[in-house]
């Protein structure tokens, strides 16, 4: 009989590809014939469609740009926004002063300590004194608020010595019996002034008006922000050229940025509020590892109005991908799919009385568990991969950014898929083992386990370095996603820090924090490898426990 080539040695743990193929295929076909499989997969797909709808709704909504420094307002109602008035040096509280309105040039003055306190001429005056008028321009009349003398409401001066016995408001005048005035404020007239001691008056003239078009208020919204395309952090500052110092009693580095005053309103010379010897620039304050921005110190009127919509759009997009990856893929699908598909992988065969068809073959029971899990994983993994690619495709099409298809998103989505598949493997092995050990009550145990995993996942997101969540599968999967995010989008860290520096609200800091399991290297690649290894080890351990339990199981 043996000459037929039926060597017994060549039957167990051999021709694995063929046997694995057969059991895998059988498993997939069995799962496909179960309604619960389709229900759970459809619910998963439905959740993704819902999330996409929210995403489209959220990301397509216009981000109202915020005028952080308020210079788009026209406070004095002269038709010119504050930013424009500031550049022309005109007042933003006097409606009579505006770019092109003609400005005042001083030609002479009586200071408070000058000896000669009398001056005659035809001028525009500003100050306090007794005025013997030859001619007064009553058209040039204002009020206390503008500082221009109101010639329409001139009262008789009271008895006594002015500035000693009585006083009048700025922007007003009073008339003596002899026809002279006591004046305080701005006025336009010809005559002789006599300034009291310790008082001041100056005179000069207004230039001719020129025609300057008022700029649109929108010109002064988001006009001066961080010049950064979100691609390369080295565009922000030279990390190698930083000075060590202290900030909030911790060691930090002060780095000169490349940043300049985009809108040209850093006019006052020298404007060096951050004291780095360079006017009109920005200093980045980094922590002692130089990997975290502690503070951003711009000179006055530099970076005073960042275009936060750029950040909001990009951060909203990233928050969606990371949030969906973690909450929907890892913590929802990752926990529920194995509950429905893996718990009964072997238990159901026992209950249906069909297990003996599979075990009366030259296949080791441990081998059998492996192939069963492989079949489950192939089905669930393909499903996850398809779902992830659809999500990646749709979001990359409608996402913000210049390119039509954001290729940099794909590694992150694939990382999400990879993490979910590893989670499916770990939970699959775990749930299958539970189903084997406790066929009757295993499902309740799995549900409790699922809740534990969910809570530990939430803890991992808020406190990634806490110890207890490390006892969960989800912790390692979420850390894996964090690592992939940092590899695919290295600037995510800067995004979170810049957004907090500018006070831009975002969910990103909740959903993403730098990976912690870097073994002290700060390298996301190390964190990725550590997380992957832990997940694979959990899977193998759970499978081994299931195999040893199954090996000694009597099948009635």
């Amino acid at each position: 009989m043996d000459e037929k080539g039926k060597s017994l040695a060549e039957s167990v743990w051999t021709r694995m590809d063929r046997k694995a193929g057969a059991i895998t295929e059988l498993t997939i076909r069995q799962l496909r014939h179960r309604v619960s499989t389709w229900v759970v997969l459809s619910v998963g797909a439905l959740v993704m469609i819902l999330l996409l709808a929210f995403y489209i709704d959220g990301i397509r909504e216009e981000f109202d740009p915020i005028d952080n420094d308020g210079d788009s307002n026209d406070w004095d109602n002269d038709g010119y926004p504050e930013g424009q008035e500031y550049k022309y040096g005109t007042s933003d509280w006097n409606g009579d002063e505006f770019p092109g309105s003609g400005y005042y040039i001083s030609t002479g003055e009586i200071d408070w300590n000058d000896n000669n306190r009398i001056h005659s001429g035809n001028h525009t005056w500003e100050g306090t004194g007794l005025f013997d008028a030859e001619w007064i321009d009553t058209e040039y009349s204002g009020s206390r608020w503008s500082g221009i003398v109101d010639w329409n409401d001139v009262e008789t001066c009271p008895e006594g010595e002015p500035t000693v016995d009585w006083w009048i408001d700025w922007g007003s005048a009073c008339l003596y019996d002899d026809g002279s005035y006591f004046v305080s404020g701005k006025f336009r007239a010809s005559g002789t002034v006599n300034a009291p001691e310790n008082y001041y008056i100056e005179w000069g003239y207004y230039t001719d008006e020129t025609d300057i078009e008022p700029e649109a208020p929108s010109t002064y919204i988001d006009e001066d922000g961080i010049l950064w395309d979100g691609e390369d952090v080295s565009e922000l500052y030279v990390a190698s050229d930083c000075r060590i110092g202290t900030y909030d009693s911790q060691t930090v580095y002060f780095c000169d940025g490349f940043e300049v005053d985009d809108d040209g309103d850093c006019l006052i010379d020298p404007n060096d509020d951050n004291n780095n010897g360079i006017p009109c620039d920005v200093v980045w304050v980094l922590d002692s590892d130089k990997n975290e921005i502690v503070d951003i110190r711009p000179d006055n009127n530099v970076n005073e109005d960042a275009a936060e919509s750029e950040f909001e759009g990009e951060m909203g997009h990233r928050t969606f991908i990371i949030g969906t990856g973690k909450m929907a893929f890892v913590m929802m699908l990752g926990i529920f799919i194995p509950l429905f598909l893996a718990l009964g992988l072997i238990r159901d065969e026992t209950e249906n009385g069909t297990l003996h068809y599979l075990l009366s073959k030259p296949i080791h029971r441990a081998e059998f568990i492996l192939y069963r899990l492989l079949g489950y994983l192939l089905l669930a993994g393909t499903y996850i991969l398809v779902l992830v690619l659809i999500m990646a495709f749709v979001t990359s099409l409608i996402a913000p950014g210049d390119s039509i298809v954001r290729l940099s998103d794909y590694p992150v989505w694939l990382g999400v898929g990879f993490a979910t598949i590893l989670v499916l493997a770990a939970y699959g092995a775990l749930y299958n083992t539970i189903g084997l050990i406790a066929p009757k009550y295993g499902v309740y145990f799995c549900i409790i386990l699922g809740i534990w995993e969910f809570i530990m996942g939430l803890f991992t997101m808020t406190l990634p370095s806490a110890t207890v969540p490390m006892l969960s599968v989800s912790h390692w999967a979420l850390q894996l996603i964090d690592s992939v995010v940092l590899i695919a989008w290295p600037d995510t860290l800067q995004y979170t820090q810049i957004s907090s520096a500018f006070g831009v609200e975002s969910g990103l800091p909740f959903f993403w924090q730098p990976p912690v399991h870097t073994l002290g290297t700060q390298s996301p690649v190390v964190a990725l490898l550590v997380s992957c290894s832990v997940l694979v080890m959990i899977t193998l351990l759970m499978m081994a426990i299931g195999q040893s339990s199954f090996k000694n199981r009597e099948i009635m």
């Binding site: 039957s11 021709r15 076909r29 009366s360």
Partner: protein, 311 residues
């Protein structure tokens, strides 16, 4: 591997479930030909087969298939086909699908498996319906699919647990001829049944189990011969029992007659074979039309009763 190693060796095997004994100190060695495993329900037939199939572990003693312990090493299944008593199958599969998928678990390629599956399904007479779903099959057809699945890898040892159970007469006949054919091909076949007449039509080599113990092992005719020497009844249903009785009473193996009901004659004998030998001659000589001939004592219960009583 020595060719002398018997296919099945069961050495002083006992198996108990908690307080209940399934198999009690059974020793067997079987190789070649068809062996019927007889015993009433609960005699330990299924326990014996489960031990052989490595599904359960013996409490005592050892089980060897081709020299290997099936509990620790599933490699003998390369050469074994097993038809379980369980009626459950993957009803959503077609017969061809079912047989070829399971064939691939033996390490065959998909093409080999389909080729072999078509061959064995033809052998059990299902080639014209093999592309229908098993769920739509009759009980006899399902049983034949199970047999086909057990034969697909051309095994040397085939174990069939109650293969005829619940089948209609046509299916029975066809399954029996399949089993006989396998035996004549030189394969070792183990068939269990609780009906003596079924086994008798398949094989002469039997193992009788009762209450977990091995009661008898050997040639069915030899065992039966012992039974024949004891009082036995033959029941004839005919029009004129008294006319027929007169003829029988004159013959040597017959020591008495009785008329239990209207139109029935009971012949009492000490030599069943001799009585059966003269039966056709006497009936034809008498010219009395006989509707039926029954052996009310010729069943497993009677045999067991005798074996236990005689022991």
């Amino acid at each position: 591997m020595s060719q002398k190693t018997p296919a099945v060796v069961v050495d002083q095997v006992s198996k108990w479930y908690d307080q209940v004994i399934g198999i009690n100190d059974v020793s067997l060695a079987i190789d070649g030909g068809v062996t019927g495993v007889l015993g009433p329900n609960g005699a330990g037939k299924s326990t014996l087969f489960k031990l052989l199939m490595g599904r359960i572990k013996p409490s005592q003693g050892s089980v060897r298939l081709f020299g290997e312990d099936p509990w620790v090493n599933p490699s003998p299944y390369r050469r074994i086909g097993y038809v379980s008593e369980s009626e459950r199958m993957y009803d959503w599969m077609t017969a061809l699908d079912f047989v070829s998928t399971l064939a691939r678990l033996h390490g065959m390629t998909r093409e080999e498996a389909i080729d072999r599956a078509e061959h064995v399904l033809d052998f059990v007479g299902l080639s014209d319906v093999m592309n229908k779903e098993i769920g739509k099959y009759s009980k006899g057809m399902r049983q034949r699919v199970k047999i086909a699945h057990a034969l697909v890898h051309d095994p040397d040892l085939i174990i069939l647990d109650e293969p005829l159970h619940g089948c209609d007469p046509i299916a029975r006949t066809s399954i029996m001829s399949v089993i006989r054919e396998l035996g004549s091909q030189g394969k070792t076949v183990l068939v269990s049944s609780h009906i003596l007449e079924e086994i008798e039509r398949i094989t002469e080599q039997i193992v009788i189990l009762n209450e977990g113990r091995l009661l008898a092992l050997g040639n069915l005719h030899a065992i039966r011969g012992l039974l024949d020497k004891h009082p036995h009844r033959i029941l004839l249903t005919c029009e004129n029992p008294r006319e027929l009785a007169r003829k029988f009473i004159a013959e040597k193996p017959v020591y008495g007659v009785r008329f239990p009901n209207e139109g029935q004659l009971e012949i009492q004998t000490n030599d069943l074979s001799a009585a059966h030998a003269i039966l056709p001659r006497i009936i034809s000589e008498s010219g009395v039309p006989v509707e039926a001939i029954d052996n009310p004592d010729d069943n497993l219960e009677a045999l067991l009763g005798y074996l236990i009583g005689g022991a």
